[in-house]
Symmetry: C2
Subunit: 498 residues, 2 copies
C-alpha cells in the first residue's frame, strides 16, 4: 500500500493525481462535466455525473498500481448545495457557487442587516454563492421541496457519502456554508434558525485530516482499490491551493489565477473586515484562511484577445501579450476595470461591468491591450489590499494558474504588488495538498509547515522600482474610477431587463 | 461685375467659392496652413501665412472671371487673438480657439465667479478659447508684450485690415470675444476693465452686411480684382453655417460635424443657460445664435477605425461602418463617452477623456464600433438638449459635414434626436451664407429667410420609433456615466503631469 490519491472536485472538471508515499507524482487524470444553466444566473451540476467522473478517474489511477492505494484525500469547490430526501435520494442538483438565483435574498439581507451579521459571525462574504442564502431562497421559492429535504450537503460531502455511507463535512468546507461560527468553530444556532433548518440536517463536523473510514464493498470494486484504502475527509480547494504552494502563514500570499482566480493567506487568528472585502474561513483554531476570489482573470484576457486584436479572431494569446508588451508601463494612463463577468472580491457586485476609462487620441490598440492586463492585476491587488491591511505586506507571493504562465504578467504582478512573485514547478497545488492531508492522517507528517518539502519552486520575479512607482501613482486613480462607476451597474442591469 | 466670392477662413485651411450673382457656384479653391504648437496646449497660426493663402485663393477665383468680382464676403473661425503694435505691426501669432494656454485663468475665474459673470453677460461659455481669458493670461504671463499692444483683433479683422486699411469687427465675431454685452450689443465696460484694455484697443463694431470699403491699390493687383470690388464685413463660421443650411429660426437646428462639430439654432431673443451648457452669440437685436461646439466628431471615428479594427490600420471608414452596422441598435447596452480630445459643449472640460463603460464578455468588436458612433451622437444630442430645453424641439435638423456622409450615421442621428435629419446637396454652407451677406449688402436680398432659395436639400432620414425608444432608455444611462466620471478627469491630468 504505497500510494496516495489526491482528488480535486473542480467546477468544470475533476482531477486526480496519484502520488507515491514520498509525495512524488506518478500520473494524473481528469474528466470534465457540464454546468446546467436553464435560465439566467443558474449554475447547477448533476451530482451523479460528478460521482461518475470521480469514479472513473480513481479507477484509472488505481489500475496503474494494482489498487495499492493507502488513502484517497479530497480537495473541492466550495459553496455547493444538494438536498437529500428521507431515503438519502437526491432532490436537487448541486447548486454551485456560480449560481446567482438568490441575488434578491442577498439584497434584502443587506438592507435588514442580516448579511452583515452573517459576515461578521462566519467570515462569509455578502454574495449569493453562500448556501445560507440559497437555503433562504429555496424556502421562499419552493417550500414543498424545502420541507422534503432531510439533509443539506455539498458536492464533496455527497461523493464521500456515496463511497463510505458517512455524512461528514470538514471545517474549511463548513466555513463556506455561511453557518459556521468563527469564534466557536461550531454551527451558529441563530443563523441555522434564520436559514430555517436544524443542526442535524447538516453533516457532522470534523477536521480535514479525519479518516472518514473505508469504502463500501460496492465501490471497492468500482474504484479498483483495496478494502483497506482509507478515505480522508480533505478540505476546500481554496485552503488546499494555499498551503499547496507553501503559503502557510502571513509572510506569504498565494495567488492563483486561471479563468478566474483568488488571492489568499493564512492568519493565526480570525479576522473580519470593516468593509467586508475578504472572506475568513477557519481551518482550525490556529489557522484562518483569509482571501478574495475574483471572477475576472484569464477569461478577460481571452475576451480582449478576441475583441481587441484581429477581426478574424485568430490572434493567439502570445500575439496579444506581444501587443501589450509593446506599450509603455502604465498604458499611457489608460485605466481598465476588468469586471466583465460581475465581480466577487473586492467589490462583491454580480452586476459589475468592465470599462476602459481615460482614452485619448494618442492611445493605441497596444495601450488598450496592456491596460487589460494591468486592470486584471490591479483588481487582484485591490482584492489583496484588504488582506495586507489586516495582516501584513507579504515577503513573497507564490503564484500558480494558467493566467500566471507569462513573463509579462508575472513581472507586472511583481511591479503592481511591489512584492517578489515566486513561480511553482507544479500547478496542481490542490491535489498536492490533499495528498499532504492524507500523509498527516496516516501519521507521516505532523505540522502543516512540513508541506514545504513537497513544493518545488521555480523562477522568482522581483519588482522593478521604477515600474512599481508608476503603478503606485496609477492605482489610486484605478480605485477612484472603480468607486465612480459603482452605482451605475444596477442601472445597466435595469436597462437590460426592461 | 457679375460675381461674388465667399471666403471661409477655417482653422486648418481657407476656402473660397466663386458664385454668380444668382448664387450659382462656379468654382472653388482652398489652401491649407499649419497650426503652430511648440508646447502642450498651444495652438497658434501665422497671420501672414493665412493672408498669403487667402490672397492666392482670391487671385485664382478672380482670374477665372477676369477680375469681375462685385464683392468679397467673409466667413471665419472664431475666438482668435492677434496683438498689433503702435505701427500696426504683428506682435503675436494668431492665438486660435484651440489654444488652451489660459486654462488656469479660466479655473481661477470659475472660482471667483468672474467666469459665470462673463457667461451671463456675454453668452460666452466658460472655456479657454475666449479672447477675454487670453487677454488676462497675456497680461499676467507677458506684461511687457501686453502693454506694447495697441490693437487686439482676430484673424478675419486682420485680413480685412490688410486689404482695406480699416479695423472693423462684425457683431457675430465680437460676440466670440467674451466682451460684447448681450443686452446692449456694445462692448461691456466692466469686462473690458477686467481684461485690462480700453474700448479703443478693439476694432469698431458693425453689422455683418456692412460694406467695409474697397481694396487698397496694392491688393487690387495682388488679388487680381477690380478697384470697385467691395469688401463686405461678413460673419463667424458658426453663424453662417447655420443660416447657410436654411436654419434661420428655432424650428430648425443646424448640425455640422466634420472632424469636430456643432449643433446650433437661431433664437429671436438672447437666452443663457443656468448650467452654461450652450453659447449665445448675437448677430443682431433679433437674431441670437445658440449652440454647442463639440471636439469629438469624425476625429474619434478615425481613432476608432485605427484602433479597434485591424492591427495593420488598413481598415477603411467604410469597413468600420460596416462592422458597426452588424451590431444591434444600442450596442448591447455598451456606453461610449467620446471625449478623446477633451470636450467643449456640453461639459466644457478640456481635460475630459473617452471611455467604454458596461463591457461584458458578450460584447464584440462590432458592439464597440457601434458604441463609438452612438457615443459621438449621444454627445451631440447632449449638447442639443440645452437648446431644446431653452427653445423647442425642432421640426427638422439640417445636417452637413464629412462625419454626416453615411446612411448609418444619419439614421442613428434621426433615431437619437427623434427628429428628421435633412441632408444638404452643398456642404460649403459657410461660403454660401457669406455670399448671401454680400447679396444683402449689394441690395439683392433683404431678409435672412430669403437664403432658403439658395439652399438645395437632399435625402431626409426619418426616426424609427422602435430604435428611438431604445435610445431614449439608453441616453439617461449615458448621462449618468458622464456625471459619474466628471470628477476624475482632473486627476488623469495630474497623473500625467507629475
Amino acid at each position: 500500500m504505497k500510494y496516495i490519491i489526491g482528488m480535486d472536485i473542480g467546477t468544470t472538471a475533476a482531477k486526480g493525481v496519484l502520488y507515491d508515499l514520498n509525495g512524488q507524482m506518478i500520473i494524473s487524470a481528469s474528466r470534465g462535466y457540464p454546468l446546467i444553466q436553464r435560465k439566467l444566473g443558474q449554475a447547477e451540476e448533476d451530482p451523479q455525473v460528478i460521482l461518475d467522473a470521480v469514479q472513473k478517474i480513481i479507477f484509472k489511477l488505481a489500475e496503474k498500481v494494482q489498487g495499492e492505494v493507502a488513502a484517497i484525500s479530497w480537495s473541492s469547490q466550495m459553496h455547493s448545495l444538494i438536498g437529500l430526501g428521507k431515503n438519502y435520494e437526491i432532490l436537487t442538483n448541486s447548486i454551485t457557487w456560480a449560481d446567482n438565483s438568490c441575488t434578491n435574498i442577498v439584497e434584502e439581507a443587506k438592507k435588514n442587516g442580516l448579511a452583515q451579521k452573517i459576515y461578521h459571525t462566519t467570515g462569509m462574504p455578502i454574495y449569493p454563492m453562500a448556501p445560507i442564502y440559497k437555503l433562504m431562497w429555496l424556502k421562499q421559492s419552493n417550500p414543498n421541496l424545502f420541507h422534503q429535504v432531510q439533509k443539506w450537503i455539498g458536492i464533496k460531502e455527497y461523493i464521500i457519502f456515496r463511497l463510505t455511507g458517512k455524512i461528514m463535512i470538514d471545517t474549511t468546507m463548513a466555513a463556506g456554508t455561511g453557518m459556521l461560527n468563527l469564534k466557536t468553530l461550531s454551527l451558529d444556532q441563530d443563523l441555522l434558525q434564520k436559514a430555517g433548518i436544524a443542526a442535524d440536517q447538516l453533516p457532522d463536523l470534523a477536521s480535514p485530516t479525519e479518516i472518514v473510514g473505508s469504502v463500501s464493498t460496492e465501490y471497492v470494486q468500482k474504484l479498483g482499490i483495496s478494502a483497506d484504502t482509507k478515505i480522508v475527509l480533505g478540505a476546500s480547494d481554496g485552503y488546499l491551493s494555499t498551503i499547496g504552494v507553501d503559503a502557510v502563514d502571513e509572510n506569504h500570499f498565494a495567488l492563483n489565477v486561471g479563468t478566474s482566480g483568488a488571492v489568499r493567506t493564512i492568519s493565526p487568528q480570525a479576522q473580519v473586515d470593516q468593509d467586508a472585502r475578504y472572506f475568513c474561513y477557519p481551518a482550525s483554531k490556529r489557522q484562518f484562511l483569509l482571501g478574495g476570489p475574483i471572477n475576472n482573470g484569464g477569461i478577460v484576457l481571452d475576451w480582449a484577445r478576441r475583441t481587441l486584436t484581429l477581426l478574424n479572431e485568430k490572434a493567439t494569446v502570445k500575439d496579444f501579450l506581444r501587443l501589450a508588451k509593446s506599450a509603455q508601463v502604465g498604458s499611457n494612463g489608460l485605466i481598465f476595470l476588468p469586471y466583465l463577468g460581475g465581480e466577487r472580491a473586492p467589490i462583491w457586485d454580480a452586476n459589475a461591468r468592465g470599462s476602459f476609462v481615460g482614452l485619448t487620441r494618442q492611445h493605441t490598440k497596444a495601450d488598450m491591450a496592456r491596460a487589460v492586463i494591468e486592470g486584471i492585476i490591479f483588481n487582484l491587488y485591490d482584492a489583496a489590499t484588504g488582506l495586507i491591511e489586516s495582516t501584513k505586506k507579504p515577503a513573497a507571493i507564490n503564484a500558480t494558474g494558467g493566467f500566471m504562465q507569462s513573463d509579462l504578467i508575472r513581472q507586472t504582478c511583481a511591479d503592481i504588488f511591489d512584492v517578489p512573485i515566486v513561480t511553482m514547478k507544479e500547478q496542481q497545488s490542490g491535489s498536492l495538498a490533499a495528498m499532504f492531508l492524507a500523509r498527516q492522517a496516516l501519521g507521516l507528517n505532523k505540522n502543516v509547515d512540513e508541506i514545504g518539502r513537497f513544493v518545488e519552486k521555480g523562477k522568482v520575479y522581483y519588482p522593478n522600482q521604477k515600474e512599481a512607482a508608476i503603478y503606485q501613482k496609477l492605482f489610486p486613480l484605478y480605485r477612484e474610477i472603480k468607486n465612480d462607476l459603482a452605482a451605475s451597474y444596477q442601472k445597466f442591469r435595469d436597462i437590460n431587463t426592461i
